[in-house]
């Protein structure tokens, strides 16, 4: 349970709301029990009075029945509102927490997370925690209080009959959720295990369809897909049967309480220790008491999955450590020179090195273009200079200071980087630009858009700067998205610029125009640009082929 503690602590700011929600839930459960119990009492009392002709105050009980009926519905309504409010507040905080936790992860790991679906999983894990708040803690607490109170009242009214009801409900109420939790955990794990297999087979079926068709393996892959699906469905069916068993058991429990009330109560009534109406009240209240337990086995059954979700989230929190602690004084923020000396880098132990003993010097204020065919490892060079990855051997320095020794904030105050992937956010044009500088005014944004030749395009859009760019910039063409990403760099005041294929997706005429407009901005900075075609790169002082940087060799 230790993994749940941090998330329980997280509830503290909401404790009053949660307490109010639980209180309202108690009121509604108690009213339910009251409604059935009092109705049973009332009907029996009237039947007895009808036979004997004795006087019966009918107004107070019938007012009580109406009161319980209203109280049950109204408190239930507000309970749901209050509880959801508290949970949504907590989930909002959890999202912020997760974001701050992941923010300092080494970027290579962030890339891996992005590729592997893990980010989707984490988002789902955060949402899974509402099971803990909304379905387990509140209802369990309410069940304990309501049943405790009901039993106390029944014992006061009917002595041993109340005790008998209490014994059955309490024993079952405690054992059933624990049983469901223990039995449910393996099913939850099985679902978690089979789902990735099914997802993998599904992605393979679509992305690998050409290979499957050519290999004549469409039928064999169908077997693989359906086997994964069957594994998942079997786990789901086991879980569903357990839920059904839990539901049946709760019913049996309520009915057992009713039987206990009758078996103990009838002799008491016949010994004139309790009245007939009271016997009916105890019996029907016992039956209604089961309602407090209805949802518990189902909720506790999923506690295992909730815990697994919490564990996974905490794992990331534990391993997320900022690798780049400041150990040196940063160089001043002015024209800075770059140098790589004897740099070797390979992505994995068994892959050939991308760079072998590579050296390069870029003087302050100089613009250098590195060219070579796409996919040969040029991007890795820029990742090394930006300090996103570390060389296996050799040094990368910024005005003599190793880039790794700089704190990340200090490093990126000096270096700005247009990465290979165009990463735009699902936001407006202005929203994407304000990532760089939240206080950037419209004039500056228009200036930056002008520099990359995007001002006319944005001006002609119906909503101008507020035009939505879509998920990943999907509403823009590839070239437009690239230029918007470039415009973000123009808004920074970093003295060193790294550009990875800045004109990818631009036609020649546009590329030439943007190159012309970018020239004065680049002239004031130290720039390292990589391009497969140096002739269409921005104006530069020097160019050299990438393969001159590495000692070519075999795998």
């Amino acid at each position: 349970m230790r993994e749940l503690m941090p998330f329980l602590r997280d509830l503290r700011p909401e404790c009053w709301r949660l307490a109010l929600g639980t209180l309202l839930l108690i009121v509604s459960l108690a009213a339910s029990i009251g409604l059935m119990g009092l109705s049973g009492w009332f009907i029996t009392a009237t039947a007895v009075a009808g036979l004997t002709g004795a006087y019966l105050d009918i107004y107070r009980p019938s007012a009580g029945i109406r009161f319980f009926a209203l109280a049950r519905s109204i408190s239930r309504y507000f309970e749901r509102l209050v509880h959801h409010d508290a949970v949504l507040r907590t989930l909002a905080r959890l999202r912020g927490w997760l974001f701050r936790t992941l923010a300092p992860l080494p970027l290579a790991r962030v890339g891996r997370l992005r590729r592997s679906d893990l980010l989707n999983r984490m988002t789902a894990d955060v949402e899974a925690l509402d099971n803990l708040y909304l379905r387990i803690i509140g209802p369990s607490l309410a069940a304990v209080v309501t049943l405790g109170g009901t039993i106390a009242v029944l014992v006061l009214l009917a002595g041993p009959a109340g005790l008998a009801v209490g014994a059955v409900l309490l024993a079952g109420g405690i054992l059933l959720p624990l049983w469901a939790w223990r039995r449910g955990s393996p099913h939850g794990e099985a679902v978690d295990r089979h789902l990735p297999a099914l997802r993998g087979a599904g992605v393979d079926a679509v992305q690998g369809l050409a290979e499957l068709r050519a290999c004549g393996a469409v039928g064999r892959h169908e077997q693989r897909l359906m086997a994964a699906a069957d594994g998942l469905a079997a786990a789901r069916a086991r879980a569903a049967r357990l839920t059904g068993a839990g539901e049946g058991a709760v019913g049996l429990l309520a009915h057992g309480a009713l039987l206990a009330a009758l078996v103990v109560g009838i002799p008491l009534y016949q010994a004139e220790a309790i009245s007939g109406p009271l016997l009916a009240l105890v019996a029907l209240a016992a039956l209604a008491g089961g309602e407090a337990l209805t949802a518990l086995p189902g909720a506790w059954q999923h506690l295992g999955r909730t815990r697994a979700a919490a564990r996974r989230l905490l794992e990331h929190a534990d391993t997320a450590a900022d690798e780049s602690a400041a150990v040196v004084d940063p160089p001043p923020r002015q024209a800075l020179g770059l140098a790589l000396a004897g740099v070797t880098f390979r992505h994995a132990a068994h892959t050939p090195p991308v760079l072998r003993d590579g050296s390069l010097t870029v003087a302050p204020g100089e613009t250098v273009v590195i060219h070579g065919p796409s996919g040969c490892g040029k991007s890795t060079l820029l990742d090394l200079v930006a300090g996103l990855i570390r060389p296996d051997a050799g040094t990368v320095t910024l005005e003599g200071v190793p880039v790794h020794a700089l704190a990340e904030a200090e490093r990126f105050a000096r270096i700005t980087y247009l990465t290979q992937r165009t990463e735009l956010f699902a936001d407006s044009v202005a929203g994407n630009l304000r990532i760089v500088d939240p206080r950037a005014d419209e004039a500056r944004m228009w200036q930056a858009l002008h520099t990359v030749g995007l001002d006319e395009r944005v001006r002609s859009a119906p909503r101008g700067l507020d035009e939505w760019v879509g998920e990943g910039g999907g509403r823009l063409s590839g070239g437009e998205a690239r230029r918007l990403a470039l415009a973000r760099l123009v808004l920074t005041d970093a003295p060193v610029v790294l550009l990875d294929e800045p004109f990818r997706g631009l036609d020649d005429a546009t590329a030439a125009e943007v190159a012309r407009r970018l020239a004065p901005w680049l002239a004031e900075r130290t720039a390292l640009i990589i391009s497969h075609d140096p002739d269409s790169a921005p104006p530069h002082d020097r160019r050299l082929p990438f393969f001159e940087l590495i000692a070519p060799g075999g795998e």
């Binding site: 409604l35 009332f42 009907i43 029996t44 009237t46 009808g50 009926a69 239930r76 959801h84 409010d85 909002a92 912020g96 701050r100 923010a103 679906d117 980010l119 984490m122 599904g202 992605v203 079926a205 992305q207 690998g208 369809l209 050409a210 290979e211 068709r213 050519a214 290999c215 004549g216 393996a217 469409v218 064999r220 359906m226 699906a229 789901r236 069916a237 569903a240 049967r241 059904g244 539901e247 058991a249 019913g251 057992g256 039987l259 009758l262 078996v263 009838i266 009534y269 007939g276 019996a283 065919p373 796409s374 990126f412 700005t416 990463e423 956010f425 939240p438 920074t492 393969f547 795998e555």
Partner: protein, 579 residues
Amino acid sequence: MPVADEPRGGERAAGRWLLDQARQARPAMAATVGAGLADTVLVVLQALLIAWVIDQAVIRATPLAELWGALALLAAVFAARAGATWARAAAGARAAWVITAAVRRRLYRHIAALGPVRLQGHHSGAVASALVEQVEALEGYYAHYLPQMVLAVVAPLVFIALITGVDLLAGLLLLIAAPLVPLFMALVGMGAARLSRRQQQSLARISAHFLDRLRGLATLRIFRATDAAAEAVEGAAEEYRRRSLSVLRVAFLSSAALELIAAISIALVAIYVGFSLLGYLHFGPGPELGLFAGLFILLLAPEVFFPLRRLAQHYHDRAAAVGAAAEILELLEDPLPAADEPAPAAPGPVRRDPQTDLPVPDPRPLGFHRVTVAFPGAEAPALDGLELHIPAGQRVVISGPSGAGKSTLLHLAAGFLRPDTGRVTIGESAPAAGAVAWVGQRPWLFHGSVRENLQLADPGADDRRLRAALRHADLDGVIAALPEGLDTPLGEDAYGLSGGQASRLALARALLSGAPVLLLDEPTAGLDPDSRERVLAAVARLADGRRTVLMVAHDRDTHDWGDRHLVIEAGRCVEDRRA
């Protein structure tokens, strides 16, 4: 009064389709409903017995000793109810299993038959998600919603009929109240449905926003904007909370209305029965009522509303299923290309190289006979009366500007695409599985080990054959260096293999398949010169004069690699040069 959105035609079609699918699991669906109906009967029995026991004990002063029989019967009813509840869950899960499996199988076969070319019209992520998540989303509909839909109609009517039989007025009261419930639910619920759709949208948006910022973490850090983004994430979640609460305030009204009507009905029935028993009412059948009948009515009254409450709880299952069905239908309604010609006769026994155990194919020629292909919406045909004959064992390199029809040519040869007019032949017959090997631009590596990836082409291949294939593809050293050798798992993006290595793995696969025609779509794009040489050398070893090779290549250095170089422009062959 909230006005419902006009249900869209697509939604209605999806609803009909969902209902149709239930036929595929008739026994399990019937068992689910049957268990629910059995429970309905047991509820009545239970109410009768409880009322009878209390009536006997209180009014007739029967001692406990004489009631044991009834109490034992009651216990049996309780046990049977628990059993029915379990059976219903089990049968429902079974029905969902059978139906989702059938739907998934059909969808997979449809996707496979559409083929990789036709699938390009759909977003690949959406297709995979239809096959996995959307099919999963149908589960609740069959396990819970649909059976409950039947019970929510039948059970209340049974209970009301019985209550009416005992006391007309109490029955009438419930008869008025019970239909009020669906009516009220419809009135409030339709508005709530629209609101909850909006709520779902904004929840999806908030998750998307969160995921979007997480995906762009690298960019955020380069611009030192992670703190601001974290605040924005929290702000968006907070904004969602405020908006969603205003939605929930209305959405919860429908269930609150249901509960209120149920509670007030029970209260009214109880008070009416009580007053009747006292003899205060001098109209209707009330005065003849006894405690037995009174309690029976009181116990049955809440049960009238219970099935409706459950239906309301499972309403979201329906909403999820309808949304998923719409996505699935979009794929299923994409018509399949014309039915395949009868499959060619099975090839004779495979000849194998005695040393490597690798298959040695009989060389086959490849022919395009006046082939024309036009894609819908395109101005000019992709291929325009193409006539091309490639002798068995020839190695052909194809180049040309993008959109000229090079890929179409490959897809035709692979049989992924059929010509509008004309014929494509491999040897004497049309292209079929097993006749071609395919190495795409970025060869897809399947979830599974290196071994499983290779065995895709040859399920019976043993280690000796696999190693021979890897050796020919110049990959044996790389695989031997992997941590678990042949059993190393390969991930979605072939983690641990470079582009050139992945291409060579696909070549090893092609070698194992024994196909006489090898189709390569820019296998060297994006490779450094060294990797390119290795891939091309592996292709040459593979061809060996026995395999006909058709390779699309962009870079100039590769054009002279084969025996023949074709240039395609605007769907026609404009240059045909032999080396």
